[in-house]
């Protein structure tokens, strides 16, 4: 059966025999690990309404007898897993199959959504809700870093964007609830405007091609996804509070949901306040943050065949940028680089946010409608409207620090019509038409000539994917075509100021193919290849002016072509005797006409001195790397996790390393889960360590400062759960950078000016009912 039956989510209700007897009903079930499908013995099952507990046997099986007809809530927990709750209405003997998240690190999109819906040869990894909640003091990109192969490009601890397989910004698409995030992705100091709390899970698709996801990606895609609202008529929700010592930060999130009579709804609200962070030796003055977000999700079934959902989210933030990182020219930069302690470092902690700072609002409305003609054919309609408003404030003369130095407003509209059909031979066809319209406007309030011009962009696209499963073999192939039109209006930088208009058209296409082969239960392999074009973005075509952050004049290049990428990826998943799991992935990507900023042999004289000039140019580049994940459980309550990722990026034409490529890194953790202490369950202690190598590929003349040394960070987490009658409290305490190590990270722009953050103690409290 197709998606209609999926409403019951992870629970598959199967009547065993159809006789209904009052108060003599049996509820039996099987508990399995979501990541591996292995039964989980000795799991605790608690039937709230009856106050009854049971333990699954060695095959993961459990049983309740003599139940009356009615509605029940089942709470299931297992050592080392995220506990779950399920609602079931029973009127006859019932069998349920329940999936727990025992190997959270092995989750991917296919596991999360079920094979029939999202089966794909694309390789993905997922961060679960529990993980998001436990890391609520971090932003989206930092949470994604737990996925092997993902790093963050930062501008201090408050602003970061994901780097996947060495690519970031315009080259990685981020989908918020199925709608491509549309903001000012071009800026290295512009973080994606998404509250991770709105998501039930976050996924990274390490793709060779992102056919169905949009035209902006060169392979990899980040998915921020909400689950469907539970089919539970009662009000459920959670309150999550976290405090972190470094920056005296507070994060509060409340989420409520109910399958109401008229529609199912879910509301999530987040508040965040944080002051100056501290490196081991000094405060990082003006690195505070304030954030307030809300999301509302509505789901309405008009009939069994017609399902609709409406989603609204609003993200609002104000972030301070390290005061000492604000520089006027190259002399200032070289003065700042040598400093023991950054300029303008205050000796006291403060929540105050002054210039330089960023103020960003992002709102999204999404409407989705699915029509099921029958079990094999679905028509989907999707609309997403976004408004992005970004203001950046610099230190300015004459009381102008409250007037933004950059003020941009972007509207975007996305429409998609998609059609999926299962063929009689077992194949599945997914096709769609997409239309995207972006309107980007500079607010003249700045009193400064804009860095990027006003523009409007239209993209019309069509895609086609064919998938088929044949025994142990699953394969897919597909193609996509985009027609992109930019209409740009620039202001000249010579006098008199005049407005000029330009139009660019790009015809781009992509192809992708992949196979997945299951040799045995313990060995699965994946091979995928994609050819993809990416049209240059407006900043690459038309940037003009001084980029404060890098102390350089950036010039766009109107003659740029589309980048052409070929990416090949192979991965294998092994597991041995249900104890050792290994995931290994290797990839190679070749990008013809790779767009990058090339320093010119020219210094441009201004009244603030001479600035180096950077011009957008094209070269041929290659990226290759490896992601390795290892999980070993010598005993049921002991788990060792190991991750390694390496990336190598090279400009083939100039025979130079690409800049902003993450250094190779290692992560390892030991988790020891121990027995319940009365009502305290899921008790665990975990020690983790991260080692980041020195980025040695960069030559001295490629940067103002050589990449920092390798560093090692240690952390520890202690956690427990308190199961109450109808609710649950989860408590965890973690310490990051336990040794208060002084370090700088290559991908953090603030490394020119200051050390990274020191020790941080995080207390996390979660109440759910």
């Amino acid at each position: 059966m197709y998606k209609i039956k999926r409403l019951l989510f992870l629970i598959i209700l199967l009547p065993i025999w159809g006789l209904s007897q009052d108060c003599a009903i049996q509820l039996t079930g099987l508990i399995l690990d979501k990541g591996t499908n292995i039964p989980l013995p000795y799991s605790n099952v608690y039937l709230e309404e009856q106050g009854l507990g049971a333990v699954s046997d060695s095959t993961g099986f459990f049983k309740f007898i003599q139940l009356c007809e009615g509605d029940y809530h089942l709470d299931i927990s297992h050592i080392g897993c995220e506990p779950t709750s399920h609602f079931i209405s029973i009127s006859k003997d019932t069998f349920v199959q329940i999936y727990l998240n025992h190997h959270a690190e092995l989750l991917d999109e296919v596991v999360i959504h079920g094979k029939s819906n999202d089966n794909s040869t694309q390789i993905s990894s997922t961060v679960s809700r529990e993980n998001i909640e436990q890391n609520s003091h971090k932003n989206l990109s930092d949470i994604l870093e737990s996925i092997v192969g993902v790093s963050s490009l930062k501008n201090g601890s408050g602003i970061s964007k994901p780097v996947i397989h060495g690519l970031y910004g315009n080259r990685v698409a981020i989908l918020n609830n199925g709608i491509q995030q549309s903001g000012q992705q071009w800026g290295n100091d512009h973080a994606p405007e998404i509250d991770p709390f709105i998501a039930n899970h976050l996924s990274v698709i390490k793709g060779a091609s992102a056919l169905a996801y949009g035209s902006n990606s060169l392979g990899s895609v980040v998915l921020v996804e909400t689950d469907k609202i539970r089919q539970d008529p009662h009000l459920h929700g959670s309150v999550n509070y976290s405090f972190h010592s470094n920056g005296l930060g507070n994060t509060l999130n409340t989420q409520l949901e109910k399958n109401g009579r008229w529609a199912a709804w879910r509301v999530s609200g987040t508040l965040k306040v944080q002051g100056d962070s501290k490196s081991p030796d000094y405060f990082l003055t003006n690195t505070g943050k304030k954030e307030g977000n809300i999301a509302i999700q509505l789901e309405k079934k008009i009939s069994d065949y017609w399902h609709n959902s409406l989603y609204f989210s609003s993200f609002n933030t104000q972030i301070g940028v390290l005061r000492g990182s604000h520089i006027g020219n190259l002399t200032d930069l070289s003065d700042a680089i040598g400093k023991e302690e950054p300029f303008f470092t205050e000796s006291n902690f403060s929540y105050e946010i002054n210039a330089p700072r960023q103020k960003v609002h992002h709102h999204l409305v999404k409407l989705e409608s699915k029509y099921f003609f029958d079990d094999h054919r679905i028509l989907k309609f999707k609309y997403g409207g976004q408004l992005n408003n970004r203001q950046e404030f610099d230190i300015r003369r004459g009381n102008r620090s409250d007037i933004p130095a950059l003020s941009l407003e972007q509207y975007s509209n996305f429409l998609e019509l998609a059609y999926n059909q299962e063929l009689e031979n077992g194949g599945l066809v997914k096709t769609g038409l997409q239309f995207n319209l972006v309107d980007n406007t500079n607010n003249p309030e700045t009193g400064i000539l804009p860095l990027i011009p006003n523009y409007d962009g239209r993209t019309s696209s069509a895609y086609f994917i064919f998938q088929k499963e044949m025994g142990n073999l699953f394969y897919e192939l597909g193609g996509r075509y985009d027609f992109k039109k930019w209409k740009v209006a620039t202001i000249s930088n010579s006098l008199p100021r005049i407005i000029e208009r330009f139009t660019h058209n790009f015809h781009n296409y992509s192809f992708s193919t992949g196979i997945k082969y299951t040799f045995s239960e313990g060995l699965k392999t994946n091979l995928n290849a994609g050819y993809m074009l990416r049209a240059p973005e407006v900043n690459e075509l038309y940037s003009s002016g001084l980029h404060q952050g890098v102390s350089g004049i950036e010039e766009g290049n109107r003659t740029l072509n589309s980048e052409k990428s070929i990416k090949v990826m192979a991965s294998a998943d092994w597991y041995f005797q249900k104890k050792l799991f290994i995931q290994a992935l290797v990839y190679y990507q070749n990008i013809q006409d790779y767009i990058y900023l090339q320093p010119q042999n020219e210094f441009r004289l201004t009244i603030r001195g001479a600035f180096p000039v950077f011009l957008y140019e094209q070269t041929n580049a290659q990226l290759f790397g490896t992601d390795i994940l290892l999980s070993y459980e010598p005993k049921e309550n002991l788990k060792w996790l190991f991750k390694y990722s390496s990336v190598n990026g090279k400009d083939l034409t100039n025979n130079l390393a690409l800049i902003n490529i993450p250094a190779n890194n290692l992560f390892t953790s030991f988790t020891w889960s121990f027995k319940d202490i009365q009502k305290l369950t899921q008790n665990s202690i975990s020690i983790n360590a991260k080692y980041v190598f020195e980025q040695q590929d960069i030559l001295q003349e490629q940067d103002f400062l050589a990449p920092p040394d390798a560093y090692f960070l240690l952390g520890v987490t202690v956690g427990t759960n308190l199961q109450l009658n109808h609710s649950k409290i989860r408590l965890s305490l973690s310490i990051e950078n336990l040794l208060n190590t002084t370090y700088r990270d290559y991908l953090n722009r603030l490394r020119y000016f200051a050390d990274d953050t020191g020790m941080n103690v995080i207390l996390n409290l979660n109440y759910s009912f």
Binding site: D332, D439, L449, P453, N493, R604
Partner: protein, 187 residues
């Protein structure tokens, strides 16, 4: 169930947003009030003689046409009274930025770095805290020599840092608002 009102919603919401975002208007050219296009450094010999004016002018701001810079010829063994004028000539009427600096003198200081042998610059003005600003100053020349004189204006320097009051920029910090270099010939 009445489904027509839902269908209506599906058409209405996207249409609203698409209409709201359409437009082909000209971008508004910002009024660049903050820009400093011109620096005039007037040097008047104390005991009479020719007035020398060092000028840096970049009318269209960063980018566009290159700035024009004119240095000067100074006499040996002479004391000059120096006064700096800053203008924004890209706007009409021309805006006098000197006033702005004077109003915010606590937050500004000029620094003078010279490679001319025997040439020295001293401050002649102070802010309310008694620290130097540099809008007025004095230049003393000795023997014949040539080199460059760099005039730097720092915004929010740490005037209490060691050496800053004496005109040493090393520990000043802050952001550079101006950094221009003039060729100087003492003869």
């Amino acid at each position: 169930m009445n489904t027509s009102k839902y269908k209506f919603l599906f058409i209405l919401i996207p249409t609203f947003f698409i209409l709201a975002s359409c437009g082909d208007d000209d971008p508004v050219i910002p009024v660049e009030e903050e820009v400093i296009t011109t620096l005039n450094y007037t040097l008047t010999p104390v005991s009479g003689g020719d007035v020398v004016v060092l000028t840096f002018q970049d009318l269209d701001g960063d980018g566009g046409n290159a700035p024009t810079i004119s240095g000067g010829i100074l006499s040996t063994n002479t004391i000059y009274q120096g006064s700096i004028e800053l203008l924004n000539e890209s706007e009409m009427p021309v805006e006098d930025i000197t006033e702005e600096i004077r109003t915010e003198d606590l937050e500004h200081q000029f620094f003078f770095n010279s490679t001319v042998n025997g040439l020295s610059v001293t401050y002649s003005d102070t802010d309310p805290n008694g620290n130097p600003v540099g809008l007025t100053n004095s230049i003393t020349t000795t023997d014949a020599a040539s080199g460059t004189l760099t005039v730097i204006l720092r915004h929010q320097p740490d005037k209490s840092a060691s050496g800053v009051k004496e005109g040493d920029i090393t520990n000043a910090g802050g952001e550079t608002d101006i950094e221009v270099q003039f060729d100087i010939n003492v003869q």
